[in-house]
Amino acid sequence: MKTLKFLTAALVASSLFIGCSKDDNPQPVNEEELITTMTVTLQPEGGGTDLILEFRDLDGDGPEEPEIQNGILDAGVTYSGSIVLLNEAGEEVENITEEVEMENLEHQFFYIIGSGLDVTTSGENEDDEGNILGTTFTLTAGTVSSGELTFTLVHEPTKPNNGLESAGGETDISVTFDVSVE
């Protein structure tokens, strides 16, 4: 009978410790590596207004549709391009390009030009080992045309490589803009 009493006591005691204590509300997680925004700035050589292509998706992989700003290039003009990545979801806007450039050996941007579009890219910046990084580049608009321009950032690709197919790695960014040359 003693054992029974002890067991009852133990059960009561355990239900007591179960019943108490409630922690404070948890803190929201600041998604540190999230990239919400990619801005490609194309600056015409010899002056003129910059052309901005922008992709913004503040809820990351959430259900909200991204906002995409496409653009029109001037035929025959050469642009110097630069890519800026931002995390605008947190309280402070974070510049992710700086991290990518710091870890340049592990990243590479690929540019894919759609078949109808008469545009060429060249002069990508390099990483510390002389392979392509591609956060800055030169873009030359050819004749009047239109099509897609896709920017892909791969994390930990095989370097050097012959393009996306053989690069492996994990795609961090893949954004397609509708671009026309007029």
């Binding site: 054992t3 948890p26 998706d57 259900p63 991204p66 894919i112 930990e156 994990e170 893949s174």
Partner: protein, 799 residues
């Protein structure tokens, strides 16, 4: 001559005792400890004398002419374990003795090779004994379970192996480790059970929810892992197993030492180390698939027939590399990976485990005590504590490089009170209570919480009774009720909260609205009832017919309720549903068993109907900055599984035997009228075994396992736009791999080193033909082949 001397000594001895004033008597009764019944025909002998009496028809005995002295009396009965008692006689003394009147029954079970009690009496139990387990010493629990018919595994690579019973896994399969229900975040498809296979000596699988003493929510089944029983005698023994394997260039070492005493005290210390580098498919190295496992356990206890206490502590730590080529971005990466015949990343062999990887530790502490009361039964009390810490590392950027993406700590406290009683000769009743508290804490890793912080409270009550009706028929019935309360703090993304219309449905749970997130406090209650009804009919000489109907009811797990976002290792967005209710399974199974040494078989057809079955299915493709991802949402549906497991064993001669297995399961989503995803394909395995106990117990076996192609699967393929080709391309995530055939060889031989020590040398080859194959139930099948040939050397020393 010798007998004469002995006789003389005895005579001499009794003469001494006779020389005092010795006219006292000792009288009393002998009763059965289970039901207090008087035992007739018990022999009582006073040691060192020739005084022997028997209990009469009234159950009493009487010794005469005893002195005021201490006597050692041996009490024996044909159906009981002989016990010794020390009795002090002063004047005319009365004393009652208790014996356990079940020993004959126990012996029978022991002869059949099982010293472990029945988990359910109306479901066929599939067991893996110690010897068979030792062959898997360098593998995992899931590998060993895979050897049973109807049990397969859901793999992530070859080191994360989750058991799958008759097509069901994860939260639907309850694992009981040394009496403790494992609470190790088992909900995840890539979360393997945190148990060292070397710490257990017996594994039992129940393909159904009938074992209500363990849980009521085991929709798929129950796996019971037990440590070996320690004998009550003075002894010191142990064993060490060393294994070296060619594939993965790894080895494992496991040792166990037990000290036991005649007075009931015992202690067992056990430890294992297992380390492997990158494993290899027939044609290439599987990059980043190494593992490093460490574990230890200590068991200290005191065991007497009528009471006992035991403390147990174990720690398990496992670091597992995840195939590098399997971590992908969006659909564009998936296409490239699926279309390539070889993994997109192949690196040289190394022992180093890089990211992505898992680092999991599990601690388990248990205190258990029992006492047998006369006419009442065996009462057990157990308290256990588990702490599971799960870290998952992905390739990350910037300051977070070395930080895990997932850091979850799950603590569980459980109190159990169980009573096992023999109500009459024919009726036994098991009943019990459970109280459990669980706390999940997600450390801020800079990645959205995969599982939110929550506290969960469970209360359970059950009974299971069995009734032996005549000699041939046993009936079993049981019921269980579980109450679950979950107190959750969950951050929803405002966009999801609104798109799901949760704002209208659950306005009361909002705690705080932030810029892009909403903090909510869902408080969920689940009431789960479960029941079992069964019968076992024994006929002819060796035939048994088992019938069981079980209802299991499972509350949705945190992953099914709260998932929200990109699941990296699956390369898809997964979304749970706050509105889910419990899933309820009805399973009817029938087994015909012939239990004979030369020719035994069992055939188990079953039908399993599950209402509100929680399943994930693709619903959409979502554009994100990382490209397109498929969106999978959890949904409740009605499902039906039909299947059959067959086991046959036939001995051609004393030494040669053939073992065959066949398993079939078909699963359907009845709402959509489509096949269920992830059902094991039909498989057949045949094994020929030569064993000769007269020649160093040599054992040679050759096993052939044939896995068919799964032809019933839902089509979850989707189309995605590929900028390079400017076309829409289909992502084939549904197609199933081709059928394959594997040959495995296994051998071992015993060598006696000296009187006390024995060496067992084992050598085996798995995937003998070095066949390249992919397994439908391996989540990495899209990216790489399965393991190639493996030579394994296994040394075991018993001492």
């Amino acid at each position: 001559m010798r007998t004469h001397v002995l006789y003389f000594l005895l005579l001499f001895n009794s003469n001494i005792t006779m020389s005092q004033n010795c006219d006292n008597s000792l009288s009393g009764t002998v009763t059965d400890i289970h039901d207090g019944q008087l035992l007739i025909g018990v022999t009582l002998t006073i040691a060192n004398t020739d005084q022997t009496v028997q209990t009469g028809l009234d159950g009493t005995f009487r010794f005469l002419n005893l002195c005021n002295d201490t006597y050692y009396i041996q009490v024996s009965h044909p159906y009981c374990l002989t016990k010794g008692f020390t009795v002090r006689v002063t004047g005319n003394t009365t004393k009652s003795f208790k014996l356990e009147h079940h020993i004959e029954e126990l012996n029978q079970i022991t002869i059949e090779g099982s010293a472990y009690s029945d988990k359910s009496k109306t479901i066929l139990q599939n067991t893996i004994n110690n010897q068979a387990l030792e062959r898997y010493s360098s593998g995992s629990l899931g590998d060993a379970l895979n050897s049973l018919s109807g049990v397969s595994s859901l793999n992530t690579g070859n080191t994360v192996v989750k058991p799958l019973i008759n097509g069901l896994h994860s939260s639907r399969v309850v694992i009981i480790n040394n009496g403790v229900r494992m609470e190790d975040q088992e909900w995840g498809a890539e979360h393997a059970p945190n148990i060292d296979i070397n710490s257990i000596s017996n594994l039992t699988v129940l393909k159904g929810a009938g074992a209500l003493q363990y849980s009521g929510d085991a929709v798929g089944g129950v796996i019971v892992a037990e440590a070996s029983k320690v004998p009550v005698k003075d002894s010191l023994y142990g064993k060490s197993i060393m294994t070296a394997a060619s594939n993965g260039r790894g080895s494992s070492l496991s040792s166990k030492l037990t000290k036991s005493y005649q007075n009931g005290w015992y202690a067992t210390l056990q430890g294992s180390l297992k380390r492997f580098g990158n494993f290899e498919a027939p044609d290439y190295v599987l990059s980043n698939t190494g593992m490093f496992e460490k574990s230890a356990s200590l068991q200290v206890g005191f065991n007497r027939f009528d009471y006992g206490i035991e403390g147990y502590y174990s720690v398990f730590k496992n670091e597992i590399g995840i195939l590098k080529a399997s971590h992908l971005g969006g659909a564009q990466d998936q296409i490239r990976a699926i279309e390539s015949d070889i993994p997109l990343t192949i690196e040289n062999f190394t022992y180093k485990i890089n990211k992505p990887k898992q680092d999991v530790s599990h601690q388990l502490a248990r205190l258990k005590a029992f006492k047998r009361f006369d006419k009442f039964g065996k009462l057990s009390f157990q308290y256990d504590f588990q702490r599971n810490n799960r870290l998952e590392f992905d390739s990350r950027r910037g300051d977070d490089r070395e930080k895990p993406s997932v850091d979850l700590e799950l603590d569980t406290h459980t109190v159990l009170l169980d009573l096992e009683s023999d109500l009459t000769d024919k009726i036994t009743l098991k009943s019990g209570l459970l109280a459990r508290y669980q706390n999940n804490f997600a450390t801020d890793t800079g990645v959205r919480r995969l599982i939110p912080d929550y506290q969960m409270y469970n209360l359970g009550v059950y009974f299971v009774a069995d009734y032996q009706l005549g000699k041939q028929l046993l009936l079993e019935a049981g019921a269980r009720y579980d109450f679950t309360f979950m107190d959750v703090f969950k951050f929803y993304r405002t966009s999801l909260w609104e798109s799901r219309n949760y704002g209208q449905l659950f306005p009361e749970i909002v705690v705080e609205e932030l810029a892009t997130q909403i903090l909510t406090n869902p408080q969920l209650n689940f009431n789960n009832g479960s029941a079992t009804l069964g019968a076992t009919y024994t006929f002819a000489k060796d035939y048994n017919l088992f019938f069981n109907y079980s209802i299991a009811s499972r509350a949705p797990n945190p992953s099914e309720l709260f998932s929200e976002g990109l699941h990296h290792s699956a390369s898809r967005i997964e979304i749970g549903d706050l509105r889910f209710n419990s899933e309820i399974g009805h399973k009817v199974s029938l087994t015909l068993q012939r239990d004979d040494d030369n020719f035994s078989y069992s055939i188990t057809p079953y039908i399993h109907t599950i209402s509100d079955f929680i399943i994930m299915e693709p619903v959409d493709v979502r554009q994100t900055i990382g490209g397109n991802f498929q969106v999978w949402e959890y949904r409740q549906t009605d499902a039906q599984l039909l299947g059959m497991d067959v086991d046959v064993s036939y001995a051609f001669t004393n030494n040669v035997r053939i073992n065959s297995q066949f398993s079939l399961v078909k699963g359907y989503d009845q709402t959509l009228d489509t096949p269920l995803i992830g059902m094991p394909p039909v498989n057949i395995s045949n094994e020929i075994v030569y064993q000769n106990p007269d020649f160093n117990n040599i054992r040679l076996s050759l096993q052939s396992a044939y896995h068919f192609k799964q032809n019933n699967f839902p089509n979850n393929n989707f189309e995605v736009y590929i900028p390079q080709t400017e076309t829409y391309q289909e992502v084939d995530i549904s197609s199933t791999p081709n059928a394959y055939h594997l040959l495995n060889f296994n051998s071992n031989i015993d060598l006696n080193i000296n009187q006390k020590s024995k060496l067992t040398v084992g050598f085996s080859i798995t995937n003998l033909m070095n066949t390249s194959y992919r397994n439908y139930l391996n989540r990495l099948r899209h990216y790489a082949d399965d393991l190639g040939r493996n030579f394994i050397l296994n040394l075991k020393i018993n001492y």
